[in-house]
C-alpha cells in the first residue's frame, strides 16, 4: 500500500510500473488491476481554464487517504493499492490523481478503486483554485458526483 503526495508533475504509467516492480511478491498472484486517473481539463463550467492550484492540508491528507485505503482493504480482498495525488500548480492535461488497485478478481478491483476515488473526492483535504483564461481566479466550491 503506497500513498504519495506529489508537488511536481507525475507520470502515472511510471508510478504504476515502479510500484509493480518494487512489489515483487505480486507477480503471478494478482489477476486484476483497476486504475483510475483524473486529469486536468482545459475547460470547466463553460469557461476556458489555463491552470489550477491545488492546496492541501499536509498530514491530514495522508491520514485521511490511509483511512480510506484501509476501509477499502476491509471491504474487498485487495492485494495492493497505490494512490498518488498532485498538489501545487497544475496545467491542463496534467494528471491530478491516480488510484490503482490490484486484486485476484475483477469485481473487487473495480469496486475497491471506485470506493477509494469516491471517498477521496469527499474526504481528502484538497482544494482546487482555477485560473481562467480571463485571468480571473475561482475556488471550486464542491466536488461533483462524478457525472456532471
Amino acid at each position: 500500500m503506497d500513498i504519495k503526495i506529489c508537488a511536481e508533475p507525475f507520470d502515472p504509467w511510471q508510478e504504476i510500473q515502479g510500484h509493480q516492480h518494487s512489489a515483487n511478491n505480486m507477480a503471478g498472484k494478482f489477476g486484476a488491476t483497476s486504475i483510475f486517473i483524473g486529469t486536468m481539463r482545459d475547460f470547466n463550467e463553460g469557461d476556458d481554464v489555463k491552470g489550477m492550484t491545488l492546496e492541501h492540508y499536509p498530514g491530514m491528507t495522508e491520514k485521511q487517504l490511509e483511512k480510506i485505503v484501509a476501509e477499502a482493504a476491509r471491504q474487498w480482498p485487495v492485494i495492493d493499492v497505490l494512490v498518488v495525488h498532485r498538489v501545487g500548480d497544475i496545467l491542463p492535461n496534467d494528471p491530478i490523481v491516480l488510484v490503482a488497485v490490484w486484486t485476484s478478481h475483477r469485481g473487487d478491483a473495480f469496486d475497491a478503486s471506485r470506493y477509494i476515488m469516491e471517498a477521496l473526492k469527499s474526504r481528502a483535504p484538497f482544494w482546487k483554485k482555477e485560473l481562467l483564461k480571463s485571468q480571473a481566479e475561482r475556488w471550486l466550491e464542491k466536488n461533483t458526483d462524478g457525472y456532471s
Partner: protein, 77 residues
C-alpha cells in the same frame, strides 16, 4: 489550554489568516474555538472542521494541544 487553529483555501483567504493560537481557561468545543478566533464572522454553513486531522462536529470538545482546522468542502481528485 492552548489550541492551534488552521484555515485553508477560500476560508483562509476570506479570513486573511492561515493560523491562530488561542488560550482557553475552561472547557470549549470546536464551535467555541471558531467564535473566539472569529468573533465577527459566522462560520460558513458548508464548512468542515477537523481536530488533529480527523473530521469532527462543531460540538466536539477540544483539549489542550489540539490542532483545530476549518475549511470549505474539499475538491480534490
Amino acid at each position: 489550554m492552548s489550541i492551534k487553529v488552521r484555515y485553508f483555501a477560500s476560508l483562509k483567504e476570506s479570513i486573511g489568516r492561515s493560523e491562530d493560537n488561542l488560550e482557553f481557561s475552561g472547557p470549549a468545543t470546536v464551535g467555541d474555538v471558531w467564535h473566539r478566533a472569529n468573533p465577527d464572522k459566522t462560520l460558513p454553513d458548508n464548512s468542515l472542521a477537523a481536530v488533529n486531522m480527523d473530521y469532527v462536529e462543531l460540538n466536539s470538545a477540544v483539549k489542550d494541544g489540539d490542532e483545530v482546522a476549518f475549511f470549505p468542502p474539499v475538491t480534490g481528485g
